[in-house]
């Protein structure tokens, strides 16, 4: 009987102590997966026609497209555009 009481008291203590524990309260976000339609990539298109005055690159060649875009970006740099 005494043993039973001791075990019961220990179990009660363990349950009681567990209430003092701290639960993680920060929501862990799980990244969703895009559910929509697939999109094309800009370098998979032909270079635009002359009247659109876009860049020149080879269709499907990402490197040449990026080079074209980079030139376009550097055109925003007036120190390079004007003084050099």
């Amino acid at each position: 009987m005494r043993l039973l009481l001791t075990v019961a008291a220990a179990a009660l203590l363990a349950v009681g102590a567990s209430a003092c524990g701290e639960k993680q309260q920060v929501v862990v976000y799980k990244q969703g997966k895009y559910q929509g339609k697939p999109d094309g990539r800009p370098w998979d298109n032909d270079s635009p026609v002359a009247e659109l005055r876009g860049g020149k690159w080879s269709k499907g060649d990402r490197t040449s497209w990026e080079e074209q875009i980079k030139n376009r970006q550097l055109a925003q740099h007036e120190h390079k555009r004007i003084y050099q």
């Binding site: 997966k33 895009y34 800009p42 875009i69 376009r72 550097l74 740099h77």
Partner: protein, 216 residues
């Protein structure tokens, strides 16, 4: 791999709203929707008035993507945050999540019915065939597929608004700040941590380096 970003130089922006107009014109954005806008602080205070052009900043860890209940957002290989309007339910969660107020909702009717979300696409269109009429109607012009940068940045008269790969435009801005001898207190350290005391100088590592004399 490029990570497309916008950067606005508050020292140069003259609040002309040319970027807003260029965006509306290029993408034929409906009435009441502004994908880009110019925000001015200390309006009318001499020497303290600053303007900055704001649109979607195409965040690396975009909160709009995180909260969207239908997962209609995606990120392109160039780091441009786009969404599928066919999937969008117009709930407005992205508007509450966005720190820049970028998502816009067209309103119509007597009760202001809210339409599907519309936002800056970095002139990269959306999930429709590139340069197609459907893409233009839903998302606007796809300038990236034409080898061009966003219209707002390319037509900015003072070149305050820069658009493109984050590394490239950061280099342009850095060189600009070094040449004019100020700027880090406008964008960066000073804005984040304050000058410390009135008239205080930024830490030594933030001060502009002397430029070598130019030959005439």
């Amino acid at each position: 791999m490029a990570r497309m970003k916008f950067l606005c130089d508050a020292e140069r922006c003259i609040e002309c709203n040319g970027c807003v107009t260029a965006c509306k014109n290029e993408n034929e954005v409906p009435w009441g929707v502004n994908r880009r806008r110019v925000v001015t602080i200390n309006d009318g205070v001499v020497g303290a008035e600053k303007s900055i052009s704001v649109a979607c900043m195409h965040c690396s860890d975009a909160p709009c993507m995180a909260v969207c209940p239908v997962d209609c957002f995606y990120k392109t290989d160039d780091g441009v945050v786009l969404h599928d309007k066919d999937l969008c339910i117009g709930c407005g969660y992205c508007f509450y999540a966005c720190p820049f107020g970028a998502p816009q909702f067209p309103q119509a009717g007597a009760f202001g019915l809210r339409g599907k979300m519309d936002k800056c696409t970095f002139c990269a269109g959306g999930p429709e065939p590139d340069r197609s009429e459907a893409e233009f109607q839903k998302y606007g012009r796809n300038r990236l597929s034409e080898g061009k940068l966003p219209a707002c940045a390319e037509m900015c008269s003072t070149k305050a608004l820069l658009g493109g790969d984050g590394d490239v435009i950061a280099d342009i801005y850095r060189e600009r700040v070094l040449r004019r001898g100020k700027g880090s207190e406008v964008w960066g350290w000073g804005t984040a941590y304050g000058p410390g005391a009135p008239g205080a100088k930024p830490p030594p590592q933030m001060q502009p380096q002397p430029q070598p004399a130019k030959k005439s």
